[in-house]
Each structure stands twice: as structure tokens, then as C-alpha cells.
């Protein structure tokens, strides 16, 4: 019985370790500001099939939660602080994101395109 429990734990642990090998490559950074419950820029164009780093700076005096169902990301950004989120590699398309605490105003979109150089378009 104890062996079985150990094997189960070991197999789940091994699975976790197997997934724990992020690619050690340079990651392009994209900066986004949150001010008056609005994202600037609200449209972020990133290259397809590439991991990128979003650095979101909350310039408001209230916290906000960056949330995206299509990107499968959620992160609280405290008042007047920065937060980092890695996204991708993604297929070409449009991926919505919003501020969970102010979903009517704080909205934006990540546009994933095939491109040579990364762009940051407002």
C-alpha cells in the first residue's frame, strides 16, 4: 500500500519535473501602463510562436487584476506597482485581456501575427 502511494506521488512529481524546463532564450519585453483604469497601449502586437514578457505598470491608486481567458492568465497588480507576465508561444490571432476589477474600461487585446521584428502598436 505504502509503495503504491509512493509510486503515485513519484509519478506525479516526475511529471512536474518533466514540465519544468523553460527554454533559456532571450525574451522580448512589452510594456503596458494602466492609468485611470485603462490600458496603454490597449493593442499589443507580438510575433507568432514566440514567448514574450509583458510588464504591466499600474499607475492607479487601486489594485487591478490582469485577466485573460483566451491567454489563460490572471495576475493581481498592486497599486503603483509593476507585474510581469509571460505569454506565448501563440498562434496568430486575437487574444482579449481585461482588468478584472474594472472590466468595462480596462480592456485590451494581444494581436499575434507572423512578423520579422516585434512591434508595439497603440
Amino acid at each position: 500500500m505504502h509503495k503504491l502511494i509512493s509510486y503515485t506521488t513519484l509519478s506525479i512529481g516526475t511529471l512536474c519535473v518533466l514540465f519544468c524546463f523553460p527554454t533559456l532564450a532571450a525574451v522580448t519585453e512589452y510594456h503596458v501602463q494602466l492609468k485611470d483604469h485603462l490600458f496603454f497601449p490597449s493593442l499589443i502586437t507580438i510575433p507568432a510562436n514566440q514567448k514574450v514578457k509583458l510588464i504591466i505598470e499600474n499607475q492607479d491608486n487601486t489594485p487591478e487584476e490582469f485577466d485573460s481567458f483566451s491567454l489563460n492568465r490572471e495576475k493581481v497588480i498592486f497599486a503603483n506597482q509593476k507585474a510581469t507576465i509571460f505569454i506565448g508561444p501563440l498562434k496568430p490571432g486575437e487574444y482579449d485581456f481585461f482588468g478584472e476589477y474594472n472590466p468595462h474600461t480596462a480592456r485590451g487585446m494581444v494581436i499575434v501575427e507572423h512578423q520579422q521584428e516585434p512591434l508595439n502598436v497603440n
Binding site: 502511494i5 503515485t8 487601486t62 487584476e65 492568465r73 497599486a79 507576465i85 478584472e100
Partner: protein, 259 residues
């Protein structure tokens, strides 16, 4: 703000209600452990919120994600302990079970409830939204209590019909969903690499809508899960089921041999 508060309640408070209801029905008699767990969870949440700025700086800014992932993992493995104790029914230590269940509730309160407390903390001092938030809180609380009552009755019926393994299965499905959904936390801080999206059912049931939230709580529904998430979900769900089913078969045949 009103609708937003209701949705936040569904997303962050409903998982706590569901787990409490399942464990309340699953564990036998003496419900004092539940009150103690809720108080411990509230105190831990208070501590967590107070230290959240420091925790967020841990491990090069990965502190919150790691904390939440570890919490969900502990809740998942606690479910396996509950099953193990159930499989050796002749010597079940009730106090130990209450500690395990208490830990599960307290950690869920910290990991899920803290988000809601942060929201309230940030916006309650704004007088123009106070009324909306309070009405939203009452509405959200009402929805959570109604759903919790329905789930309690369903769990009670299942337990009467199929015994304590039925309620354990409910807890296991819930904990597996939360465990698999914690995987993106590690991906978003670049601790593990992501894989392709397995499918997208956003057009059918989006995670943004009420049913999406409800199914996410009940069995970890994701409209666009990654292949990693699917693998982890299936392994985490079916491996313990196979192990404990095999153990039950073994113990039954042992009893049969003794007789």
C-alpha cells in the same frame, strides 16, 4: 461594479463554499472542525493579505504564483490522504481527518478569498461605488449560498446511495480541477513552458460567463486549456481512482478469504 462584484464572488467565494459543503457531508459527525477551519482560514487570509506585498517579491517576483500553486497542490494531495484513510476504514483517525479537511478549507480560503479581499480593500473606500459593492456582495453571497445548498443536497443523496466514496469523488474532482487550473500560474512566471491549446470552446461555454465560472469551480472547466493542463488533469484524476479502486478490490478479496 455591482455585476463585477457578483462575478468576483462567483469566481473567488464559490470554490470555498463548494469545498466546505463537500467536506461537511463527507466527514462523519462533530462539525466543530469546520468552524475552527473557517476561523483559521480567516486569520491566515488576514496574515496573507498583510504580507502579500512581501510575498509577491519572493523568488524574483514569482512569490504569489508559487504560493498559490503550492496551496492548490496541498489541497489536491490532502484529497488523496482522505481517500487513503477511507480505504483503511477499520482504523480511521477522525481527528487526523479533521486536520486534513481543515487544512484544505483554510488554504482554499487564503488562495481564493484573498483576491476578493484585495478587491474590497482597494475599492470599498471609494464612496461612489460602496453601494454597488455592498449590493453585489449580498447578491453574490445569496447565489453562493443557494448553489451550496443544492450541492449539499446532491452530495447527501449521493452519499446515501453510494456511500462515502461518492462524496470523496466529488471532492477529488473539485481538487483535481483546481490543481490543473493552477498550472498556468507556473507558466505565466516562466517556471515551466507552455504547450499548444488543446481546444477552444469559448463560443460554447466561455469562462467569462456564469456557467463557465460554475463549471470551473465544480470540475475545473477551461474553455481553452493547454495540452499540459489536459495531461495533468487526466493523470491527477484517474491515477488515484485506479489505485484506490484496486485497493478496494484487494481489501474486499482479503475479507472474502478470511471468511
Amino acid at each position: 461594479m455591482l455585476i463585477n462584484t457578483v462575478i468576483l464572488f462567483l469566481r473567488d467565494a464559490l470554490p470555498i463554499f463548494v469545498l466546505i459543503v463537500y467536506l461537511y457531508e463527507h466527514l462523519p459527525a462533530n462539525k466543530l472542525w469546520l468552524l475552527k477551519s473557517v476561523i483559521a482560514g480567516a486569520l491566515l487570509s488576514f496574515l496573507y493579505i498583510n504580507q502579500i506585498n512581501i510575498i509577491s517579491q519572493w523568488f524574483d517576483g514569482k512569490g504569489i504564483e508559487l504560493f498559490l500553486w503550492v496551496s492548490q497542490s496541498i489541497v489536491y494531495f490532502s484529497t488523496l490522504i482522505l481517500a487513503y484513510e477511507l480505504s483503511r476504514n477499520h482504523s480511521t483517525n477522525r481527528l487526523f481527518l479533521h486536520w486534513v479537511a481543515g487544512l484544505m478549507i483554510s488554504l482554499t480560503m487564503v488562495s481564493k478569498g484573498s483576491n476578493f479581499v484585495l478587491y474590497l480593500d482597494g475599492y470599498l473606500n471609494q464612496s461612489n461605488v460602496l453601494q454597488s459593492i455592498l449590493i453585489g456582495t449580498f447578491l453574490g453571497l445569496g447565489i453562493c449560498l443557494s448553489l451550496a445548498t443544492l450541492l449539499y443536497l446532491a452530495a447527501q443523496w449521493l452519499k446515501q446511495r453510494w456511500g462515502p466514496w461518492a462524496t470523496w469523488l466529488l471532492v477529488h474532482i473539485y481538487a483535481t480541477g483546481q490543481f490543473a487550473n493552477a498550472l498556468p500560474l507556473l507558466i505565466q512566471v516562466d517556471l515551466i513552458d507552455t504547450s499548444d491549446t488543446a481546444w477552444s470552446s469559448q463560443y460554447l461555454i466561455s469562462n467569462e460567463y456564469e456557467f463557465g465560472h460554475l463549471f470551473n469551480v465544480l470540475f475545473g472547466y477551461q474553455a481553452s486549456p493547454s495540452i499540459d493542463q489536459i495531461i495533468v488533469y487526466l493523470l491527477a484524476l484517474f491515477t488515484p481512482l485506479a489505485v484506490f479502486y484496486w485497493l478496494e478490490l484487494n481489501s474486499t478479496s482479503h475479507l472474502g478469504n478470511k471468511q
